[in-house]
């Protein structure tokens, strides 16, 4: 039953994928201009790139996202935990989060570049900045939503703070954390694109803009497709984590 449903879902995805190419091809016939090459041309261009080239660019982008997400998770988890478990820290930090939350983080890009240069640091920091406020807030609320008596049995047999965090707080807050990551991932990928325009010769953002400047449209589209693949892989990963750790909800 489950396998059948999954197959069903995958075949629907493939159908949509195929349908999008049909639309693309129709548009290509309609527009009839080098700025919109046919799907076939674009896949040929992708083929010419060579595996090594693709792996390096996709790899750089994925690495930056991973580093940014990981950093945001670690710091967000710590601050969120502090705010969720101690009302004093919550009172202190809540206004800070409240005031900084609506600041459009992408507007901070020039500031981050000024302070941290054009290298990897500023790219990773930008992704972290996009995610961290969401994560702080959702971790805090996720932790507060865990009923206090969930800890009782472990407390009564003498569990320490580390054990309580690992067995109760973290798994209890995980579902909110995962859905926050899922929601913020789209923004994080867009920001990644911006940060890859400067100061690097690797990554999908660089690749797309480079092809654009060289007026190599098939390669530009190949880059856009690969960039979408990066996004798809990331969403798949979050879904896998969700499947692995959220089984208990059903």
């Amino acid at each position: 039953m489950v396998i059948k449903r999954r197959l069903n879902y995958i075949s629907r995805l493939l159908l949509v994928f195929f349908g999008m190419h049909v639309v693309w091809y129709a548009l290509y016939l309609l527009v009839h201009h080098p700025m919109l090459p046919s799907p076939l041309r674009v896949y040929q261009a992708m083929g010419q790139l060579g595996v090594g080239n693709i792996v390096v660019n996709v790899g750089y982008s994925l690495m930056r996202i991973f580093a940014g997400v990981l950093l945001a998770l670690i710091i967000g988890l710590l601050i969120g935990l502090l705010m969720g478990r101690s009302s004093l820290w919550n009172k202190l930090l809540d206004p800070v989060v409240y005031l900084t939350y609506p600041v459009p983080k992408i507007a901070l890009l020039p500031v981050v570049m000024l302070f941290f240069g054009l290298g990897e640091t500023s790219k990773i920091l930008m992704i972290m900045l996009i995610l961290i406020f969401q994560i702080i807030i959702s971790v805090r609320d996720g932790i507060k939503a865990i009923p206090e008596n969930t800890y009782d049995v472990l407390t009564s047999i003498g569990a320490g703070p580390g054990q309580k965090f690992w067995h109760v707080t973290l798994p209890g807050a995980l579902s909110v954390i995962l859905s926050t990551i899922r929601i913020s991932l789209g923004t994080a990928i867009s920001v990644l694109f911006f940060t890859e325009i400067y100061g690097t010769e690797h990554g999908m953002g660089f690749f797309i803009m480079d092809a654009w400047l060289r007026l190599d449209y098939p390669q530009m589209y190949a880059g856009i497709l690969l960039f979408s693949l990066v996004g798809f892989i990331l969403f798949l990963l979050v879904d896998l984590l969700d499947y692995r750790f959220m089984k208990w909800r059903k």
Binding site: V153, S156, I157, G158, K250
Partner: protein, 258 residues
């Protein structure tokens, strides 16, 4: 029970007040001998859960004293098995790993992995739930969750076992089956146990003594000796004269104090 006066759990003039200054638990005073089992009977709000929270160390502010074998309970490293009113299972862990986690925390330097797993399997089958081992608590019925919570409490082999209305959410038939099951396993491993209930029959079936908490917290609790019923075969208790005599006696106390 030929234990000396010092042996067992001594609850000495215990009284709990929440911040408001209102009594949550009126003064109780009793000594539960080691390897003995008492039931605590009381109306809703009389402080039954509060009493267990104090003994289990979840509630640290109270008047009076808690001693185990003559020494302060908190200052000793005494393992306490708790079956809370809401079962207290971690929803994100399977039945098996709920028990495993508790065993690991209770006995950090405990047995090797293999014998620990064997122990878990033993308790699961003792409670008749071995086929639920890999299920998650949210997919279990109330009665099944009860069994898991009890299996977990027994599996950690505590020195004191505290049960908070463990059978209250069950239908009469399941409840009787679990009462018998519980008593059998308690008799095989007689842990010092406090069993909270608001069911008169259950209090008489399971306790060597019955502590009846009053609804007015200024009144003293009544402690009723139940040895005559407790000594009978479990299957014969309900039809015995002693059982009916106890019911009458407790009803009288209830009329006066509930």
């Amino acid at each position: 029970m030929s234990s000396s006066r010092n042996n067992g759990l001594c609850v000495k003039e215990l009284e709990v007040e929440y911040k408001s200054g209102e009594l949550a638990l009126g003064r109780v005073d009793f000594t539960l001998p080691e390897h003995g089992i008492y039931t605590i009977l009381g109306p809703s709000g009389s402080g039954k859960s509060t009493l267990l929270r104090a003994v289990s160390g979840l509630l640290l502010e109270f008047r009076g004293e808690l001693l185990f074998n003559g020494q302060s309970l908190r200052e000793q490293d005494i393992l306490i098995g708790l079956v809370p009113q809401n079962y207290g299972l971690l929803p994100w862990k399977t039945v098996k790993s709920n028990i495993r986690v508790a065993m690991k925390i209770a006995h950090p330097k405990g047995q090797d992995r293999r014998s620990q797993e064997a122990q878990i399997d033993r308790w699961l089958s003792a409670m008749g739930i071995q086929e639920l081992a890999d299920r998650y608590p949210l997919s279990l019925s109330g009665g099944q969750q009860q069994r898991v919570a009890i299996a977990r409490a027994f599996a950690i082999m505590p020195s004191i076992l505290l049960l908070d209305e463990p059978f209250s959410a069950l239908d009469a038939i399941t409840r009787e089956a679990l009462q018998q099951l519980f008593l059998e396993h308690w008799q095989a491993n007689p842990t010092t146990a406090l069993f909270v209930t608001h069911d008169v029959d259950e209090a008489i079936l399971l306790g060597q003594k019955i502590i009846v908490l009053p609804s007015n917290k200024r009144d003293a609790p009544e402690i009723i000796d139940n040895g005559t019923v407790f000594g009978l075969e479990h299957g014969e208790k309900r039809s015995s004269d002693a059982f009916f005599a106890q019911i009458k006696r407790i009803r009288k106390v209830m009329q006066a104090k509930w």
